[in-house]
Symmetry: C2
Subunit: 433 residues, 2 copies
């Protein structure tokens, strides 16, 4: 029986999940492959803590070279996360002729070009299904299942933490701050939640999705990113009244010329499948020219689901190894040499519908002045709701605006703010159908 | 530039879709592959009708040998459908060393063993993504994305025609017969709709899904199959009152020992994602040990979506061809030699919840006699609804029943029927959560 040696760097939650999966399902994997995935070595600085899996002491090492330089290791699994030393480890593995499986979205979104080039030069493979959508086989679907299509649009709920927070805010009517604290207690949010709640993690994932879907190099810096910390339960309630749910959505579109890629709170119709995605689950909606709309749903994070994606990649590489091939499929779906830099549509050029909530001073003529400013930019209002009103006090004024250009909306809002008839900042939520 | 020759047998709707796709997206496919998918020949008995695509006359032939015996054809696409002559064509292609792509679920569900054996013996590949879920990459997801898992449960909306009919019945409150007629007019149902409405098509697809997911040979004959023709708008309305939708569901479960596979109208909770799948769309929900629940949604039929799946398979085989390998992945996910016959759970042993609608004679003591008969089999009633009642007339009596054994339910219903207190047959709909 052929054996394929696996080395793991990083024995944290996911690393332990991978070890657990290989132990529990190894026999079925062997039955599929006609070969054995053999765990050769696990490297981590901390090999004393209990990870909840039984592993022979001899398979643990604090020296990463025991994985990277080990001739018995065919495939290296990088689960360190972050930019360094993960980047160095991945490049060393590739330089040593070992293929790599990683869950590291940050590394690939920011240094993808460098890493993929290193893989191509070494004639090795690198797979990273776990980097986007956790256990959902979305990258494989784009790279293979949908390979006959030109993909036009992607909408993704790509971050479980923020989807959990928005779901709780909606169901309990509680504030962002309160729900975040609860999520931190439950382990659904990090002590420093910035990466998740400000949309950075989702933007990393969207970078990879857009690059693979459109076959253009989309840089992480070009992704417009806005988090959910300014969303209030009131906005979620108003959204409901208009027939929408509020989700942190990754949106990527390609019109054949320019790419737009953005992560922001988004109102989507209540009856859209994405609206039914609750809690820590993720889902990716893809619109392709021949397939039409399709959707992929599952757990976007967690020990078991992520291990499922990592070991799925190991099985794919093992199948290649058994067949005696390398580099069978380009990691980004298109060979790097055939991918041009994406022409990015400036944020101001984006067109969508908008929800705008203003806190207006309750004086005669205010609504007329506000709608006048919008009209000047040819922005048309679909509906206005003025909620609760105490004589002489500020009132929330909610506007649903027909499709308009982002630059026009922002310019109109600047004018409205300059009129001094509103208190605080306007809340703007983009609306997609 | 390497060329991979493609021959198509069957120039109907899907065949024309494949030709259209190769023409429209050929450049992008070449950019992905670094090789060209070249349409060499299309064979059909009718090459005169207009198929809505431009194709050189010289590429059309009425002689199937121009595909099957053509040295320029590397991959044969079989789109004839049905058992014969499709089976003969596929086997001839394989015997001639050509790999095969097919959308033929009937052929594979009934003669899969023979066809896959022929492929293995010839050292060729056979792919059939379009056979299940139309354009949804569900087979590829099971074979590769979820390959690290033991799959435990599959729930699938696998037939677009019946899902369209049930959706329309629900939304318009119209009868099965009336909606079926409308569906036939719109081209969503065949002139002879038996295969679709009686669940046969869904059972073909479930046979393939269960076989691949569990790695056991599940025979088509062992799939319990019941259609939707006896469902009434009243049942759908009662289901709503209880918080359910009615769907024609393919259900496959594996407990590590026995497999159950069944297709029947099923009540599922309104807030389940599958309940949101409307019209001709399909979706497959998969529960796996490490990944947990995941769902795949898209168009289950149609010219473009099916062509997307067929050409996706062509691209996979072309990647193998470019890499110089064959037989890299077992078509059924596990090699045939490693697959035992599934031990099928007899229908009577199935356990689920039940909706039962009886038309009871309005006499004193009837409900007590009915519940007595159920109690004798230790079947417990969750709720009873007796709708509308005219003195001395028959009344619909709707029972929601806690989890019970199918054999017990059927025996109890036989006893109830023997009491002569009910008119007509009982309507039984299984309930899954």
């Amino acid at each position: 029986m052929k054996r394929i040696g696996v080395g793991v760097i990083g024995f944290g939650t996911i690393g332990a999940g991978v070890v657990d999966l290989l132990q529990k399902n190894g026999d079925e994997i062997t039955r599929r492959l006609g070969a054995e995935l053999e765990l050769v070595k696990v490297a981590d600085l901390d090999i004393e803590s209990d990870r909840g899996v039984d592993i022979e002491r001899s398979k643990l090492s604090t020296d990463v070279a025991d994985v990277l330089e080990n001739p018995a290791v065919d495939i290296v699994v990088e689960l360190v996360g972050g930019y360094e030393p993960a980047r160095t480890f991945v490049k060393r593995a590739l330089a040593n002729g070992k293929s790599v499986v990683t869950a590291n979205k940050a590394l690939l979104a920011v240094h993808g070009d460098e890493i993929i080039t290193a893989a191509e030069e070494a004639g090795c493979d690198i797979l990273f299904e776990a980097a986007v959508g956790g256990g959902i086989p979305i990258l494989r679907s784009i790279r293979e299942g949908l390979a006959a299509n030109r993909i036009r649009t992607i909408y993704g709920i790509l971050n479980g933490t923020t989807n959990y927070i928005l779901t709780e805010m909606q169901e309990k009517g509680e504030s962002f701050e309160r729900v975040l604290k609860e999520a931190q207690k439950l382990g659904y949010a990090e002590a420093d939640p910035t990466f998740d709640v400000e949309g950075v993690d989702a933007a990393h994932k969207l970078t990879l999705l857009a690059t693979m879907a459109f076959g253009k190099k989309v840089s992480f810096e070009s992704v417009f990113t806005e988090g959910i910390s300014s969303i209030t339960p009131q906005d979620i309630e108003y959204a409901h009244d208009f027939g929408y749910e509020v989700k942190l959505l990754g949106v990527a579109k390609f019109d054949g010329d320019r790419v737009e890629a953005r992560v922001h709170p988004t109102m989507i119709p209540k009856n859209h499948l994405l609206s039914a995605v609750r809690g820590v689950y993720n889902a990716i909606y893809v619109d392709a020219d021949f397939l039409g709309p399709s959707l992929y749903y599952g757990q976007g994070a967690g020990r078991e689901a992520t291990a499922s994606a990592v070991v799925g990649d190991l099985i794919e590489l093992a199948r290649d190894k058994v067949a005696g091939v390398k580099g069978r499929v380009a990691p980004l779906s298109f060979p790097l040499s055939k991918m041009a830099d994406a022409r990015i549509k400036p944020t101001g050029d984006i067109r969508c519908r908008y929800y705008v909530r203003l806190t207006a001073v309750d004086e005669p003529g205010v609504l007329s002045r506000i709608s006048g400013a919008l009209g000047k930019y040819e922005i048309s209002i679909e509906s206005v709701v003025q909620k609760g009103r105490d004589e002489g006090q500020a009132v929330p004024l909610v506007l649903m605006i027909h499709e308009a250009k982002e630059a026009d909306i922002m310019a109109a809002l600047d004018e409205i703010m300059a009129m001094k008839v509103c208190l605080g900042d306007p809340v703007v939520i983009r609306v997609e159908r």
